[in-house]
């Protein structure tokens, strides 16, 4: 997996209530959730996001509610990856479990600007900013998580192992 895309940049403590507001949680349809992704923090996100784009944020991305609808909405919007200084733990688990790659890399997260072009190599953890020409090293995923991605999510990896 080596996604490449344009950056949508946010800052600290982006909570799951703004990623997908609770008023839309009366559905689990991926496309309906994607239609309202980020709308309480960035009204133009849905209009601007393109397949493969990358969300970059700073501290504690995905804090708050455990709603898996949040990584689902981002993934269904076309976002290929989230890079942040740190993630809230439930959001982190949920993303890995649904096979949505997210990476912690404080240097890349703070130096990247909205509109930059980034690519990510998940095997090596190398993040390249094609706009600034800089590269960054994130911790690659442990084998246990690579196996979840390779299987297409936690449940498929469990069923494969059965």
């Amino acid at each position: 997996m080596e996604p490449k895309g344009r950056v949508h940049k946010y800052f600290d403590n982006v909570d799951t209530d703004v990623i997908i507001p609770a008023r839309y949680l009366n559905t689990s349809s991926h496309s309906e959730l994607a239609a309202h992704c980020m709308e309480d923090i960035d009204k133009d996100f849905v209009k601007n996001v393109k397949q493969g784009d990358i969300v970059v944020a700073e501290k504690n991305f995905g804090c708050g509610s455990s709603r898996e609808h949040a990584p689902i909405a981002l993934q269904a919007s076309g976002v290929s990856c989230v890079i942040a200084c740190s993630f809230a733990r439930i959001f982190y688990r949920n993303s890995i479990n649904i096979g949505f790659p997210i990476l912690e890399c404080p240097e890349a997260a703070t130096e990247t600007k909205a509109g930059d072009e980034l690519s990510v190599d998940f095997d090596t953890g190398v993040i390249t900013n094609h706009t600034s020409g800089k590269t960054y090293q994130a911790q690659p995923f442990p084998d246990f998580m690579k196996n979840i991605f390779a299987s297409g999510g936690l449940l498929k990896s469990i069923m494969n192992a059965k």
Partner: protein
């Protein structure tokens, strides 16, 4: 090196004698919980991967509490999907309108969770049961589905922060003030990926309801769990109630903590969190006078019987201020009934408040008290994020029941100690 209380519970559930921070383990689960919002997503995943059985009919608990009684057609569909799934797999603990309460008040009350248990719930406030000395943490719907299939979940063994509670709190200071103070001190990511373990002589001064409130908001500091030692009050609470195999775990004397924080309960003041993060804490004296349009008393954080009694004590014989909407929501049917028996419901209605059936309702902007543009609420709930209770230009101030009730009477943020 010894183990923390959390590490001991995790080790026991992973079939290991010893675990250390950072270790990846697969733990056996005593309870897997879901609600009307997270269960349908878990069912999607369950069915998509071709599963056709659950690990236990008795250890899965489905609670229809968020958008119920169904607020719209889509919410009704989500409950129906959950209900059909429960029927299909013979899941015995399915709580629907009539028996339902807010999950994190309901499970302890019904004796479904207890000391030493290892619990996951597809709801972030599942950490509440740490008050009972259980390891309990919030997860998402895929983890819930995996838990329903296998009875197991993967965890990275957490490091811990030790919080030493000292002395006794003053009147109108309780669990909510303790946890808001702590979050204000360490921040909304101050305990990220970690356990918060409470200890000290101050624990004995806190009621079980206070402890539930404190454990409930561990997630608001980013924590994996918040946990209390098991003492006489815990055992008394569990007596004639808890149906499981009660196991008491204690942290080793040489357990390692990344940080130790002392809180003098006697020095704590009624505390509030201003918009839009739970870490924006002030004492109520610093925040007093801010105008409010609504006061919400309830939720998994503060909808228990002692909360209802405290609200009634403050509202009794008085009237909610003109222009303020006061919404009182007991967390479970048992608490609702107790409010009727003790005459609390009458006190609320005579004071000009509404007294609702159990529901999560307004806490996450579901229904039963949504805010308009420019409005401000004081609320005993747990999050004050942008748009959490309604319009993106509305505001929430988090507080204790005493502050929310006192403020309902005056129409501005009020220290209950300042009431006549």
């Amino acid at each position: 090196m010894g183990m923390t209380m959390t590490q001991k519970i995790l080790a026991a559930h992973a079939g290991l004698d010893f675990v250390e921070a950072g270790q990846l383990i697969n733990a056996n689960l005593d309870i897997v919980l879901g609600n009307d919002i997270t269960t349908p997503v878990a069912i999607n995943e369950f069915e998509k991967c071709g599963a056709n059985s659950v690990f236990s009919k008795e250890k899965i608990i489905l609670v229809m509490d968020h958008f119920t009684p169904n607020k719209d057609i889509k919410s009704a569909q989500q409950c129906k999907r959950s209900r059909d799934f429960a029927n299909q797999y013979g899941i015995s603990h399915f709580y629907d309108v009539g028996t339902v309460g807010i999950e994190h008040a309901l499970l302890p009350e019904q004796g479904l969770v207890g000391p030493g248990d290892c619990i996951i719930g597809a709801d972030s406030h599942t950490c509440t049961y740490g008050a009972l000395g259980a390891f309990s943490t919030g997860v998402g719907s895929t983890d819930m589905a995996a838990g329903m299939i296998t009875g197991k979940a993967w965890f990275k063994v957490p490091t811990a922060i030790k919080v030493i509670l000292k002395n006794k709190p003053n009147p109108y200071v309780g669990g909510k003030d303790v946890i808001l103070h702590l979050i204000g001190k360490i921040g909304v990511d101050g305990a990220l990926y970690q356990s918060i373990e409470y200890t000290g002589d101050g624990v004995a001064a806190l009621s079980m309801d206070d402890r539930f409130t404190i454990a409930n908001m561990a997630i608001e500091a980013g924590a994996k769990n918040g946990i209390f030692p098991v003492d006489e009050k815990t055992l008394e609470y569990c007596k004639d109630r808890y149906q499981g195999d009660l196991q008491v775990f204690e942290a080793d004397a040489d357990a390692e903590y990344t940080r130790v924080i002392e809180i003098d309960l006697a020095a704590l003041k009624p505390t509030v969190a201003l918009p839009h993060l739970p870490e924006n804490t002030k004492t109520v004296q610093e925040a007093k006078g801010l105008k409010i349009d609504q006061s919400v008393i309830g939720s998994c954080t503060n909808g228990r019987i002692s909360d209802m009694r405290l609200a009634a004590q403050i509202l009794k014989g008085k009237r909610v201020a003109e222009g303020v909407r006061c919404i009182v929501i007991p967390a479970t049917q048992d608490i609702y009934l107790q409010c009727l028996k003790e005459g609390l419901a009458q006190i609320f209605v005579e004071a000009g408040a509404v007294f609702s059936v159990p529901t999560c309702g307004p806490c996450m902007g579901g229904h039963m008290g949504i805010l308009a543009e420019g409005e401000r609420a004081v609320s005993t709930t747990n999050r004050n994020f942008v748009g959490r209770m309604g319009h993106t230009d509305s505001e929430i101030i988090l507080s204790s029941v005493a502050v929310a009730a006192a403020s309902a009477l005056t129409g501005v943020i009020t220290d209950p100690n300042d009431l006549d």
